[in-house]
């Protein structure tokens, strides 16, 4: 404890001397209140003026540019996304259109096949009908010719028979001779 007191007692003159030293420094460099506070005021005014009129506008300009760049980048990303979406949509639409077109083609093919089949059937039916009609007409005509031929044949047979026999044939004789002759021809 005593030693502590003695140390403090010894330190006091040193401190005073230090203070003197500091005072000497202050005197040498003219560091005193009016000079110092004037410089502080001057520096603060300069700093505020520089902030307002020098750094302020430049920083605002840089911020503005950064904002524009960020906005541009955001727009670019947005546009890229829109482009990707658009490409996706286009691809989907094309795929859908292809699918639809394929379906239509298939349907058309099927329809065409059905129609073709139907038309073929109709044509066949029509042809058959025409054939049947032709056959019927031919049959009718043949029957007619046949009847005429029979009639003519009968008349010829009757006439021949009448000339050969020299007698006049009645209707029953004519009919009988005709029938016999026809039966023999047909057989």
């Amino acid at each position: 404890m005593i030693s502590l007191v003695s140390i403090l007692a010894n330190a006091a003159p040193h401190a005073e001397a230090e203070g003197g030293g500091v005072g000497e420094i202050f005197r040498t460099f003219h560091v005193d209140k009016p000079f110092f506070f004037s410089q502080v005021a001057s520096f603060l005014i300069v700093a505020i003026l520089l902030k307002k009129f020098a750094f302020g506008p430049i920083q605002a300009m840089l911020e503005q540019r950064k904002g524009r760049i960020a906005e541009g980048e955001a727009n670019l990303i947005k546009i890229q996304k829109q482009l990707a979406d658009s490409e996706k949509n286009t691809a989907e639409a094309i795929a859908k259109a292809n699918e639809e077109a394929q379906r239509l083609v298939n349907e058309a093919k099927e329809s065409a096949a059905i129609l073709s089949e139907r038309k073929a059937q109709e044509a066949i039916a029509s042809a058959q009908q025409i054939l049947a009609k032709a056959e019927a007409a031919a049959k009718a005509e043949r029957d007619l010719i046949k009847a005429e031929l029979k009639r003519e044949f009968g008349r010829l047979v009757t006439a021949t028979t009448a000339q050969v026999t020299g007698k006049v044939l009645n209707t029953d004789d004519q009919k009988r001779i005709n029938d016999e002759a026809l039966t023999k021809v047909e057989a």
Binding site: S38, Q39, S42, F43, L49, L50, K51, F53, A54, L62
Partner: protein, 301 residues
């Protein structure tokens, strides 16, 4: 070509400076005073030749900034491009030290500090600064200190460097407390780092408490160190230039020659000192605001 141009400029600078020194003034002006001198008063405020210099530099910087931002174009060119490059580079550089959040708050100060110190240092090399002035006369005038220069290197004045340093010190406290909170600020200085328990925790509290006291002393001395470092370098540079001009003795037509190499050195010193002052102040702030958990990055996300 550019080197030749700059060399010629420096040569002319030295020549003009020596003529200004030899013509202007003062046969009795045989030494550069260690302090700035009063030019006039505005009320209680003393206006010194160094302060005048700072104002001229500030006016120059404002003029340049205004010219650069007068006709803004989307694609910058010329002066706008140069000023944008300067400010943006400085901003990015400080952002690397302080982080996104802090640099946004404090760039105006660090930017001002750097640009102001840099251009004040360089303006101090212009011929006529410290050599053009007037002579005092009348009774009570010190015959060895009769010459009063109109201008003096802004940072060759301890009051100026101290004003910047102590303003930073106050802002440092403000930023540190607003960023950390008072509790966080104190714990940043005094609280033990790491996890301890039992008797170890008690010991660590004592140890870190003592370390905190040392830290406080260190914090209080920072502005003093900052002031004297900048002042010392710039004042020493001006002394060298002045004394180099005097080494030719009576052959004053050769006074421009000896300081010539030192102009190059002073250009470099001016830049380095501006950088050192800004870096130190920025690092001091970062140290107290650093949470060690990539706080800024978290904010950024």
């Amino acid at each position: 070509m550019r080197f030749l141009a700059s060399t010629t400029a420096i040569w002319l600078l030295g020549l003009a400076s020596s003529f200004a020194a030899t013509e202007g003034v003062a046969e009795v002006h045989d030494h550069l005073p260690a302090h700035a001198e009063q030019i006039f008063n505005i009320g209680p405020f003393v206006i010194t030749n160094s302060m005048l210099m700072v104002w001229i530099v500030a006016a120059f910087l404002i003029l340049i900034a205004q010219l650069a931002t007068r006709k803004l174009t989307l694609v910058p060119s010329g002066l706008q491009n140069f000023v944008e490059w300067l400010v943006e580079s400085l901003y990015n550089f400080l952002e690397g030290i302080l982080g996104k959040h802090l640099v946004k708050r404090t760039f105006w100060f660090f930017g001002t500090i750097f640009v102001l110190i840099l251009f004040t240092n360089w303006f101090g090399l212009i011929p006529g600064v410290g050599t053009v002035g007037w002579e005092l006369s009348g009774p009570g005038v010190d015959p060895h200190d009769k010459f009063r220069p109109f201008l003096r290197g802004g940072n060759a004045d301890l009051n100026m460097t101290a004003a910047m340093s102590f303003t930073f010190a106050l802002l440092w406290f403000y930023w540190a407390i607003t960023e950390n909170g008072l509790k966080g600020f104190l714990s940043h200085i005094f609280a033990p780092k790491g996890k301890f328990s039992g008797i170890m925790a008690l010991m660590m509290i004592l140890v870190f408490g003592f370390v905190g006291v040392l830290e406080i002393v260190s914090i209080l001395f920072r502005p003093v160190a900052l002031s004297f470092r900048l002042y010392g370098n710039i004042f020493a540079g001006e002394n060298i230039l002045e004394n180099m001009m005097l080494v030719v003795g009576n052959n004053k037509f050769l006074a421009w020659l000896p300081p010539l190499p030192f102009y190059f050195m002073e250009l470099l010193v001016g830049l380095i000192q501006a950088l050192v002052f800004m870096l130190l102040t920025a690092v001091f702030l970062k140290l107290i605001c650093d949470h060690g958990d990539h706080h800024d990055e978290d904010h950024a996300h």
